[in-house]
Every structure is written in C-alpha cells, then in structure tokens.
C-alpha cells in the first residue's frame, strides 16, 4: 500500500513537470463572435446532398458574417415541427411536401418559403448500369412485364420485385404498379441504406434490381444508375393518388425558413435567401464528404475557395 502512495506522489510530480511546459488554455486568439448576426438553427436532413448544402451555407455564414450556426440532425418531416417551437430556423432543401407547406406556412403561419436552391430533384425507377447495357429496352416501362421474371426474389411472391426506400420518401409506386398493370410487387426496403446496399450488390455481382431512387445523390458518383421511363408527367396527372399512372414530377427544391428568422433582419437570412447553386455543385461537395471522407467544413472550405464568385453573389457583393 505504501508503494502505491509513493507511486501516486511520483505521478503527480511527473504530471506537474510535464504540464508546466504545455500551452495554456485560452492563450490562442479566439475569433470574435459576430454580434450583429447572432445564431440560427439549421436542420440537417439525413442525406449527403442536404449535408452539402448545410456545410456550405454554415461555412459562409460563420466565416463571412460571423454567425453562430447550430446544426440539428433531424428527419425531414420532424424538422418541420421545429419551425413552430423555435428549434429550427432554416431548411435548405425541401422536396415538395405541399401538405406541410399548407399547414406550417398558410395555416399556422410559422414558416415562410425562401425561394429555390437551384437544385433539380428527380424521382423515379432505376436499374443498375449493367442491366441497361444487357437489356437496352428495359428503360421503357412497357417492357417491364417482359422482364418481371428476372426481378423475382424471396420477398416478391412470384412477381417481379420493385424495391422502395425510406418510409419518409414521396412515393406513388403501389398505385403505379396497379394502374400500369405491371406484374410487380412493391417491397419496402425501409431505409436508404438498404436501397444503396442493394444497388451496390446488384452492380458488383450482376444481379437484377429495379428500385426507387432519386437525384441528386452522392451515390451517382459511385454507380451511374439508369432511369426507367414511365409514362411522361403532365401537370395534374398525379392529382388523385389512387389513379396515378404517370412519372413523378420534376422537383424544384426550395428553402423554408421560420417566420421569426425571416423577420429578424439578420444578414444570415439574406444569405439563405440568395443561396442558389446547381446539381453539379452539390454533388461535388457531397462527393468530398461521402467518398473522400472530408469533414463537411473542410469540403465547404475547398468548394468556396474554387467558387468565390458564386459566394459573392449570395452575399450581395
């Protein structure tokens, strides 16, 4: 026991000696926090494309405007609730959701639309590239029944399998299968992770797969999936959810902010409002995060350096 005590004393002395040489906490200059901008809450929805938006906006707001950005990692629809409670100020990538817009913007008046992000969203049915090469006519929906046998799995009950994704996704697939008389069964994979893993496996091991997917998505940098053409979309053809027999509409992804934030006069609001870029820009940043394993901040810094002129227009310079 005595030895233990000596060891303790020795350790303390050693620590003291080692410690005195070190740098002291707070000796580094802290960047002055921007008082005029204050802080705002930015929701981060669970896909990498969104994360790319958030990374760049947060980087610019912090570096150029001196704001404090609090990122909240939330599922898309959960985040909408945050506009009412003050937990969320900014949503940088909204996919349609007319029902939520109606509720939170028109009825409850707690949120406002802040314009397009410039990113075009596409939803549809996709096959891995090797299939499109081997069966060139598979990209026309009229031929899907011909190939239904290929897509049979243990889950599809003798029909072809159409794999769907995360339960939060916008989908008409069950109605589409029925109304287009396709010999397919919609199987719920339940998550984006499962969907991507299925495509990865399908391309690598040349397995047949038909699944719901969407662009922009970082995964397209890894495997260039091929879209199957459904009957062309015409305005209003998806009005009745039970009778849909046409492709998904093109989405103009937009930004939603809380009413409080919009009225605050913060320069960060102008930044969010002016923020606009392209699918290629977003994919470039998403790729740095997902494939090159940069932190969102590093990725944003790199992109901003190469695209200063775009950033300047957001800042009204």
């Amino acid at each position: 026991m005595k030895r233990l005590r000596y060891a303790g004393v020795l350790t303390a002395v050693a620590l003291a000696l080692a410690g005195c040489g070190g740098e002291k906490v707070g000796s580094q200059e802290q960047p002055a926090g921007g008082k005029e901008c204050g802080s705002f809450n930015l929701t981060v929805s669970p896909w990498v494309g969104y994360e790319a938006n958030a990374a760049v906006v947060a980087y610019v707001a912090t570096k150029d405007l001196g704001c404090k950005v609090v990122k909240k990692n939330l599922k898309e629809e959960i985040a909408w609730q945050g506009f009412a409670t003050g937990e969320v100020d900014v949503n940088l990538e909204n996919w349609g959701h007319e029902d939520l817009k109606k509720k939170y913007i028109e009825t409850d008046k707690v949120a406002v639309a802040a314009g397009s992000t410039g990113v075009k969203g596409v939803i549809g049915w996709y096959v891995p590239p090797w299939m499109a090469e081997k069966y060139p006519d598979i990209t026309d929906w009229k031929n899907l029944n011909k190939y239904a046998g290929l897509f049979k799995t243990s889950e599809s009950g003798g029909k072809g399998q159409l794999l769907d994704g995360d339960p939060s996704y916008v989908t008409n697939d069950e109605a589409l299968v029925k109304n287009l008389n396709l010999n397919y069964k919609v199987v719920q994979s339940g998550s984006e992770t499962a969907l991507i893993q299925a495509f990865r496996d399908a391309e690598k091991n040349k397995k047949p797969l038909l699944a719901y997917f969407y662009e922009p998505q970082w995964f397209f940098n890894e495997i260039k999936l091929v879209k199957v053409n459904l009957p062309a979309y015409k305005a209003g053809c998806d009005a009745d959810p039970a009778k849909v027999a046409c492709d998904y509409p093109p989405y103009d992804l937009d930004k939603i902010v809380s009413k409080k934030f919009a009225d605050s006069g913060s320069p960060a609001y102008d930044l969010v409002k002016n923020f606009q870029w392209t699918n290629e820009d977003q994919n470039a940043v998403a790729r740095m995060i997902a494939v090159d394993k940069l932190t969102p901040d590093q990725a944003a810094e790199k992109w901003v350096k190469d695209n200063q002129s775009k950033v300047d227009t957001w800042l009204g310079k």
Binding site: G8, L15, E23, K72, I78, P167, V186, R200
Partner: protein, 650 residues
Amino acid sequence: MAAITSDVEVEVRRPRRAVVVGVLIVVWVAAYFVLRGIDTLVLGGQETTAPHRWLTDHRDDIGQGNVFFDAIRVAVDHFVVLLQNLVAQPAYDRPVPVIGWLGVVAISAYCAWAFGNWKVAVLTAAGLGFVGLQGLWQESMDTLALTIGAVLLSLVVAIPLGIWAGLSDRAFKVATLVLDLMQTLPTFVYLAPLTLFFAIGPAAATIATLIYAAPPAVRLTAHAIRSVPPESVEASRSLGSTRGQTLVKVLLPMSRSTVVVGINQTIMAALSMVTVAALIDAPGLGQTVLKALQTLDVGVAFNAGLAIVVLAIVLDRVTTAAGDRPWRTASLRRKVLLGAGGLGVLVAVWFSRTYVWAAEFPSDVTVGSRIAVIATDVTNWVQDVFGGFTYGVRDVVTVALLNPLEALLTGSPWWLVSTVVVALAAVLGGWRGAAPAAVCLVLLVATGVWHDSMVTLASTLLATVVVVVVGLTLGVWAGRNHRVDTWIRPVLDAGQTMPPFVYLVPFLALFGTSRFTAIAAAVVFAVPVTTKIVADGIRAVPVATVEAANSVGSSSWQVISKVQLPVARRAITLAVNQGLIYVLSMVVVGGLVGAGALGYDVAAGFAQSELYGKGLAAGLAIVLLGVMLDRVTQAAARRTQDFPTRGDKR
C-alpha cells in the same frame, strides 16, 4: 420415490397435451385450405382506418405550447446542458469544457476506486483512454453526459416508485402493468409524440431515454424490498420503530445490492437508446453511427459502436463492483488513501483546466481510423466469401419455413386465427393464458393492422425458435464450462450494447433486403440475454445432483437432458420469455432492412405526418403481440412446473 412418481406423471400428462395441440394445428391447416383469403383484413401501405386518421388529426391538440411541458423541457434542458458543459462541450467562453479529459479520467477512476475497487479503477482509466484514442472523446463525453443525466433523473423517479411498489401490493400490480408496456413499446413509437411535448433536442432525447431506462430500476427496487425477510421487519417494528424508520434503517440497507443491480440495468438500457435518440438530435456517438450509415461506412459506424460497448462495459463493471462492496466499512488506512487520491484528482482537474494537452484529448495518436479500416476489410471479406451461400440459406429458410407459416397466419380468416390461438393458449396455459390472449386478439383487430401483425408474428415466432435453440446450446455449454463462459461473456455484452444499426449494413450485404435479414438481426440481439440466463440457471444446478448422475455412469448428454435442463427449467422459461421480448423489440429495426409489416408502419408513422396515427396503432400492435406471447408462455410455464410439485406431494 418422489422423482419416480413425478416421471410417471410427466409421461402420462405430456403426450395428451401434445396430441391436443397437434390436432388443433392439423384442423387449422385443413380449415386454412378451405377458408383462405376470406376476412384477412389486409390494409395497404398508404391506407389508413378511421381511428388512425382520428389520431393523426388530434396529434396537435396536446403538447404545443403547454406551460407544464415547457417547464419540464426547460429544466431538463438546463440540466443536460450543464453536464455537457462540464465534460463535453466548450463552455463559459472557454474553447474547452469545464473539465478536460485528464480531469474526467481522474475523477472517474477515483470514483470507481472509492465505490468499487482498484481493479475497476484501472479498467475505467483504460476504457476512457481507449475511447479517446479512438478519436471519439467529445462524442463519448456527450453520450456520457446524456446517459448520466437520464439515469439520474430516472432514479429520482424510479427509486421512490420502486419503494412504493415494494411496500404496497396494489401499487405493485399497477406498476407491473405499466412497466410491461414501457418495455415492449418500440422506442420509435414514442419518439414522435415526445417531440410534440418536448420539442427536438437534448431534453426530448433525455426524456425518451428516461422512459426506456427507468423500468428495470423500479422493478428491481420493488423486488429487493419485497425480498427482505419479514422477520427483520417484525423485529424492527417490535423495537418500536415507525414505518419511516423501518424503511430507512432496515429495508433500504438490506436491499441495497439488488437496487444497485437495478441501477446497472438502467445504465445499460440508457446506453442502448443512444442511437435511437440521435434521431431526435441527441448529441454524441449515436450521431456518428447514423451519419456513417448514410454513406454505408461500416468501419466508422463500428468504431463509434465499439466506443458505446466500451463505455457500457466500464459502467457495468463499476456498478457491479459498487454493488458488491460492503457499506461503511472503510478502514482508517483506506480513508487516508482515499484522501490522498482525492488530492491527486484535484491536481489532475486543475491541469485539465489550465493546459491544452490535458484539456483536449491529443489527436496525433488515433487508432479510430485503423479500427474503421479493419472493420471495413473484415466486412468486405465476409461478404465476398459467404455472399452467395447466405443468399441460398435465406431462400431455403424463407421458402420452407417462413412463407408457409406466414401464409397460414395471414391467409386464414382473423376469427379462425383468433379461435385457434385462444384454444392453444387454453390447452397450454389454462384460463390464465386464454383470457389475456383473447383480449389481446380483440384489441389487435381493433388496431386496424391485423394483417401486418400476422406477418410480424410469423417472423417473430421463427426468430424466437432460432434464439431459443442457439441460446440453449450456448448457455448449456457456458454453464458447464467456466472457461467458455469467460470467453463468451464479453462477446455477449457486445451483442447487447452494440447498436443494431451498426450490423445492419453487413447483414444487408449478406442477405439482401428481406424478412430473413430482420430475423438474423433480431437473433443477434436476443441470443445474448437468453444465453446468459440459461448459463446462470445451469450453473445454479446443485453440484451434488450432477455428481450423483455422473456416479451412476450417465453420459454428458444424459446429464444435460435428464438432470441439468429439467432442474433449470425455471431459468429456461425466463430465458425463452426474455428472448421473445428482445426479438419483438427489434421489430422496428427489422422494418428498416426489408421486414416491412409493423416495423415499417411504425417507422413510416414517425417519418410521415399523415401516417402518424397508423404508426401509433402499429406500435400498440407490437405491444399487444408482446403481452399476448408473454402471458401465454408464462401461463404455460406455470402449468408445466405444477406437475412435478403435485407429484412430489403425493
């Protein structure tokens, strides 16, 4: 003599019940071929019933802007943020938390030593050091802050409730019902409503964790108080103590070690909520796991999962040691040493507040990325080598077992399934089994998700059978062989605390998106608890009994089947029961890998506001399935136990 009569009894009784069960099932299958497709109550993916829509419409009526809930939220928020500022987040205009890593390690090790022993103190220091070396210091401290916050708040609620339930029979009955509900209700189900009451963020995450983690502490506290010998209480009373004095001086001290076990279980439960609570913005390791999943980065997810496992092992061993330590028996020498150690801790804390190297965990040596790379490589290797084979296994099991079972359950009319299940429950468990089964089945129909419930039931039954077979085998092996037990235990600990999200990706690669994948995930999660309970039961078989069997020349197989398993029957029943509950609690996670049915409904209700009501109903259906299976198995177990006792008396 007693043993012989009971054997005769069992031989006479058992076949008769087995025959009845067999006849029932044959009749059911025959009826299925005649009646299939009638009254199956199918409800499409986006379809809802009137009660579902009612729930959805009324979701906002409660919660929003309620002063009471706001007050709770603000209080909990401040408490958790305070803990975070203390150890995890930069605070009070400093670029570092109040206490840096050196201080945290010193304080933790000191507490482990003071409440436990020096061995767990070393383990604590090593565990925390390892987590730091993984490059996850800050995330781990956020997780730790949230866990400690939730556990402390749980105990504030749970210990008084447990004492009350320990003293009052009526309170005990009510508590058991509520706790059953709290433990089987899938965590996803109450995450969405909680965000209505408590917004999004650390407060809601802490409260969600609290709901999940409090039941074990209540149960074990009540159990401990009830186990205190009545003689002690009477002795105290006869000496003129008041009720309060008896409680403080006799009941609480005597039940202390069991209460500590309850605290231990609460900590484990809180840690296993970490990844789920991350969905409503709980800070910490859960975020890292979820983020890694978006890019299918198994390595990074595993690294963060491993940190959770390490934290769990440290906290488990420390609380276990604290439970074993006799109270108020510190010798003078130990007191002096404790004092000296306390000074050392103060020095370490001062260092961690003053110098950067002691405040921020040095980032130049990180093993985290190496662990991630190795985990990824191993996963890829397993996928490449076993990929084709596992798909084959999946297809065989699905076609030969799962599909027929599911067809029988989903294709039969609901009233036929209900009649057969109630009849089976009556044969196996008497009215104690039949009555709860009937009530649960009626309510299941009322939830509007009958068809999905039957799909889930089919997978659950199959998964439970696998869990019991594997758990019994491993448990018997570990119970008979001490060395096996030592090796297997850390693996079981890891299986219980490693977030299921981490092994989802490898399982998806091995089995594709399918119901089988969900079954596999549930098996991994449920086998540890079954194995542990079986092993404990086998070990508890008196040595003399086993030796008697050995001395008459029984083979190992005979000893196991004729002596150890029958004697450990009570433990085995509990193991089956717990295995079942654990499988059910994985249903929602199964929904994320292609199991569909109730798990998918719950996840969809969480993610889509128009499906909110249906998600709640599906969550309720999972609870109903759980209560039904639990009551039937318990009633059946009680009856099988009755026979030998009756034989003994004769």
